[in-house]
């Protein structure tokens, strides 16, 4: 009788729930593990978004600089410049066209407008800043690749440009990726005046 009365109590003991201590420990360990997993996931997702943005920005900048390099090298002269909105107007006398590069601070786009095309082309999107400097053909002595500043567009032989493009995800607080590019392009067909 004693043995048989023991039997159900043993079964009840085995199928009983967990103790409070066990539950607390399990909760603690579980939440730590979950926190670690969540951190890794968020960190990973942010990093991969940043990497994607960086490569997209670099790709865009590369394509932009390639196109501008090709066109400015072939241009025969710089006609005019503008500071607000920032713009450079080149002429290609051999092709009989003018090319206008303009940066719009509101739309954050750098565009190229060709006189023989009705639509302008967008070279850079998300362009935070675009600046240029104009140089003459005469180099300074005892320096490396430093030239006299061009005081008028027709003296310009070398264009120095830099721009900054950025992309944000969920506003700047979550993620802000930036790409900065510089380019020096010689107007190869520009003749001395």
């Amino acid at each position: 009788m004693i043995m048989s009365s023991c039997k159900p109590s043993r079964i009840a003991g085995r199928s009983a729930g967990v103790t409070l201590v066990e539950l607390m420990v399990a909760l603690g360990v579980g939440s730590i593990v979950l926190a670690v997993v969540a951190t890794v996931t968020v960190f990973g997702a942010r990093s991969f978004m940043a990497l994607g943005n960086y490569s997209a920005l670099d790709q865009q900048s590369c394509a932009g600089v390639d196109q501008m390099t090709r066109e400015i090298r072939q241009a025969t002269a710089l006609i005019s410049t503008n500071n607000s909105p920032k713009a450079l107007v080149f002429t290609n006398a051999n092709k009989g066209i003018t090319i206008t590069y303009a940066w719009n601070a509101n739309t954050k786009q750098l565009t190229a407008k060709y006189s023989n095309e009705s639509q302008e082309r967008v070279l850079l999107r998300g362009c935070e800043d675009w600046s240029f400097h104009l140089w003459q053909r005469t180099p300074y002595s005892n320096l490396t690749n430093v030239f006299y500043a061009a005081t008028s567009p027709k003296l310009c032989k070398l264009v120095d440009m830099s721009w900054k493009c950025s992309r944000t995800v969920g506003g700047t607080k979550l993620l802000n990726t930036e790409s900065i590019q510089t380019a020096q392009i010689v107007l190869r067909n520009q003749k001395a005046n």
């Binding site: 023991c6 085995r14 990973g44 180099p139 690749n145 590019q181 510089t182 380019a183 020096q184």
Partner: protein, 157 residues
């Protein structure tokens, strides 16, 4: 009955310390390799961006080399050969220099002394990790009598 319950109790018991340690070790290795894969990926992207910037620097220096006349370019006091450039977003500094040399593998034509091979070099170190030194080079050739049209618009210097 008591004797019978002994083996059942043993079967229901939790993991042994060894089992737990082994599993913790395996999970640790998995996490470490996950993080290493992450950081290796970031390093690859970073190096690619640094390389891209190095290429830009070389191209833009090379672009302006041809604006120098032959006498300016070959005059070491006129044409300074060292330069420093940087990549602001990553804080990388590039140290460059330009060397002029007699072209190699051209034989010895009579105009050999009127040609120079221009070698542009940039060096930089990775600012993270092992400070791995990097070096990139670009070469072009300039000729004594080949620049007038480009620089002076058809008039001889």
């Amino acid at each position: 009955m008591r004797i019978l319950t002994e083996p059942r109790k043993a079967r229901l018991s939790a993991y042994t310390l060894t089992e737990v340690m082994v599993s913790v070790g395996i999970i640790g290795v998995l996490f470490v390799s996950l993080y290493l894969a992450f950081s290796a990926g970031f390093t690859v992207i970073r190096v690619a961006r640094e390389n891209l910037r190095a290429t830009q620097i070389l191209v833009q220096r090379e672009e302006t080399v041809r604006l120098y006349t032959w006498s300016q370019l070959t005059d070491p006091t006129y044409f300074k050969t060292n330069f420093v450039d940087n990549f602001a977003p990553l804080g990388t500094t590039y140290y460059g220099n330009i060397t002029l040399s007699q072209p190699a593998n051209m034989g010895s034509p009579s105009y050999l002394s009127d040609i120079r091979t221009v070698t542009l070099t940039v060096r930089w170190t990775n600012s993270i990790g092992s400070k791995l030194p990097h070096i990139r080079q670009m070469q072009t050739q300039v000729a004594h009598y080949g620049l007038q049209n480009y620089v002076f618009g058809g008039t001889a210097p």
